[in-house]
Symmetry: C2
């Protein structure tokens, strides 16, 4: 007791510190179900902070179901919501309880380093920048009032028509323009879906590992996670079914094609079976397909969405990552029962993606140049993957060579922790993503994600060499 | 009983229909506090729908505190959350309970009509479109890799610097570049603030009437409203203080300068007092300043933000509405304790506003042409206001002539309902906003908002004439 909280600029808000303080006591089992919490007055005195701050923390705890209130008595520890309580199930890592807001990936990516392996982004030098700039000028000639006009919340109809036609051709599905929504990047799409279909304390099936921003988004919504391991051969569908049956999750967020971070692709048979499971257990599948066209050995299997007949898949197809990332254009596809509430969510969130970026994207997307660009980009990315894999050949590190996407997902030797490697690497101007951030359970400490897409060939070699040296130093110093 | 729900395409989702069904019974007092609700099975049978649909509705009711669950028994009506229960307070309209998601304003604005008085938007013909298009081309020459680059979630630093300098000059406040965030339009700014600082069941002070999208956004967050009337002289600060004291609202959302929809401006003395109240009762003031530069008789009073010393005001300054609406650029200004959590919210919501639109805005904002444009725009808007007011002179309708902004807020004669006028007007290709949509209590049925900014001078005359004719017809048919 008597521990001081810090109010320094930029640190975690005080009320979240109080929140963490309580959660820690609950998780350690020091404060048990139905124990009375310290009164707001007492805790405020103890930490020398305003009572309102403690109140705010207690409100948040209550809202998340971690505590409850007895009138005229005070706050009590909830009965079923600590991690410990959930772990009575056989599969001991079934559930991770969401905690406070963060976006740690972003913090790592913002660090100014020479060798940026934490960005799963295309190197801007691989994009046809000059052509794009010229292109934009044409677009403004076509739409002279573009800057003065709003898009509808659902997205520019002309763009939706073009994407609709493209998807019908590409995926051979029935689709109409009302079944598409334009979002400002896949991340916004996930956020809109999460806000629309997930309520606090709902269960969310999620891959382990997965796209870290998705973890943060569902956590923000107060979801409880049901992690499902993803392997080179896909998921263990028995576990998926058991979880759907037992917990009735609202959604399954998945990234089944050149999966981020692992690069794995879920095979066609599983795709069909997953849609059947979704229908049977009424669990909405969120299929995030960001790297669909970034294949090295031929196109990936058809999206799960194409197997869907009853509206249990919402399909997020992001193009702008490899077309023009700065535009942040993505389409969400689903039956009208899915898309209609998403349009409302979008209209409240930002009243529609800027028309400027939609029109620029539209015209570029339709151009012959775009098709050629995507072909060249595949070759360039494959080359970078090969360079990175070549440099890592003698590392003793292990990974499954990805057949598409932007990342290597690497298992480090047992003696080497990702955290130790990361902190020393950042000191030496190399960054990557520690596996923990991609894990809804916050573990996977001996895994890392290395992106080969953002760093030029020459630098890629030097950067991986430096990373290897750092790892050698660390291993030696351990002996 | 035996009533059927409709599952027709485009109608309200089934589970929301079930939700409404329950709410109606509670609000009418037919189902009282602690009454047991029909079981999920029974209700599913009654409506011939899936149990999961009923479950979803019950979950939502529970989440909103309108019902609670007894284990192994079922769902019960909550004790204190119906409108009726709240109205025991003296000021009988203190609180409006939030209901399901919608964005009705948007629906009206999407209607294809000849005379569009529902859009509080600048007519694109008043923007320097040709100049803007040429400008964009220059921007792409300056930043050839613009399309390939992400912004940081906080927003482009160059843009924040420019806006920071501008605000220091314009408002004479101390400010640094870390205290600004770039959002995709004021609406996203409100949404980010709502998600960050408002929890379900929190009280939110809100003007009556107010910007309708703000009502929808706070409602989505599960807020409970404390409406405060706004008058030509500002608010009744005694009522504001009493509400702050009694309900401890988390935030006060306000639009004190050329207020939307009324056009009223809160006087300087009240601004100072409001900041003092905010500090005293620890209520965050959300100052939405969308029309700051759209004045007709001289600049408005300084924003409340300039009186803030302790960080209880977050200032939303939107420029793009009159600079280039299609760009959707807005800045949120506040102390770091406010901005830091908003950056996280922004990073989760869409990972940053597109760099393309930020850079285009930046260079245009800095240009001499922009300054000239704003001056001309003021004159054009004032002219349109005068035309509309002239056409309405013999109407018998009443309003306070706005000294800035884009709207007239009109009290209809008692014999004329806004709903009747709207439905007939839409039939005759005139649209406007009924007061109800701008009212957190959903009343104000004899008020309407007419925007004079979107329709060209000639059409403005014709449209108002037609509206007058419709009103005459309706009044006659009533006699």
């Amino acid at each position: 007791m008597g521990k001081k909280l810090t109010a320094a600029d930029g640190s975690k808000p005080l009320f979240l510190q109080v929140y963490d303080y309580v959660i820690t006591h609950i998780e350690r089992g020091e404060w048990k179900a139905h124990d009375k919490l310290p009164s707001i007055r007492i805790l405020a005195q103890q930490f020398e902070i305003n009572r309102l701050t403690v109140f705010r923390a207690y409100q948040l705890l209550k809202q998340e179901g971690k505590t409850y209130v007895k009138e005229k008595s005070g706050y009590y520890v909830g009965s079923g919501n600590s991690v410990a309580a959930f772990q009575v199930h056989k599969h001991s890592q079934d559930i991770a309880v969401s905690s406070s807001l963060k976006n740690e990936m972003n913090e790592i990516q913002q660090l100014p380093v020479l060798y940026q392996f934490s960005q799963a982004l295309i190197d801007p030098n691989l994009l046809p920048n000059l052509y794009l700039s010229d292109y934009v000028k044409k677009v403004f000639d076509i739409y002279p009032k573009l800057m003065g006009t709003y898009s509808t919340p659902q997205g520019d109809e002309e763009l939706r028509e073009v994407l609709c036609r493209y998807m019908i051709g590409d995926l051979r599905v029935q689709l109409n323009v009302q079944e598409l929504l334009i979002a400002s990047g896949a991340q916004q799409a996930i956020d809109l879906i999460s806000r629309t279909f997930v309520r606090p304390m709902d269960y969310v099936l999620i891959e382990r590992p997965t796209y870290s921003a998705a973890i943060d988004i569902f956590r923000q919504q107060g979801a409880r996670f049901l992690p499902v391991d993803i392997n080179p051969g896909g998921y263990d569908l028995e576990i998926v079914e058991r979880m759907m049956k037992e917990y009735k999750p609202r959604v399954f967020y998945m990234n089944p094609t050149f999966h981020n971070p692992t690069g794995y692709t879920v095979p066609p048979l599983q795709r069909k079976q997953l849609v059947e499971l979704a229908e049977k257990y009424r669990c909405l599948l969120i299929e995030d397909d960001a790297f669909h066209d970034m294949y090295f050995e031929g196109p990936p299997p058809q999206p799960l969405f194409t197997y869907d007949t009853e509206g249990w898949v919402v399909y997020i197809r992001s193009f702008s990552k490899y077309v023009a990332p700065g535009l942040r254009i993505c389409t969400v596809i689903g039956r009208r029962s899915i898309i209609e509430p998403l349009i409302i969510a979008k209209s409240l969130a930002d009243n529609g993606t800027p028309l400027v970026t939609q029109k620029i994207f539209l015209h570029y997307f339709e151009s012959e140049r775009m098709r050629k660009h995507v072909g060249k980009l595949r070759t360039a990315l494959q080359l970078r993957r090969d360079i990175m894999e070549g440099e890592l050949a003698d590392s003793g590190w292990s990974w499954v060579s990805p057949k598409g996407g932007l990342n290597l997902w690497i298992k480090l030797p047992n003696e080497l922790s990702a955290e130790a490697l990361l902190s020393e690497s950042i000191r030496q101007s190399v960054s990557f993503v520690p596996g923990r951030i991609c894990d809804p359970l916050g573990e996977m400490n001996s895994w890392i994600r290395l992106s080969y897409s953002f760093v030029k060939e020459g630098q890629l070699r030097d950067g991986v060499k430096r990373l290897m040296d750092i790892s050698q130093q660390l291993m030696k110093s351990r002996c």
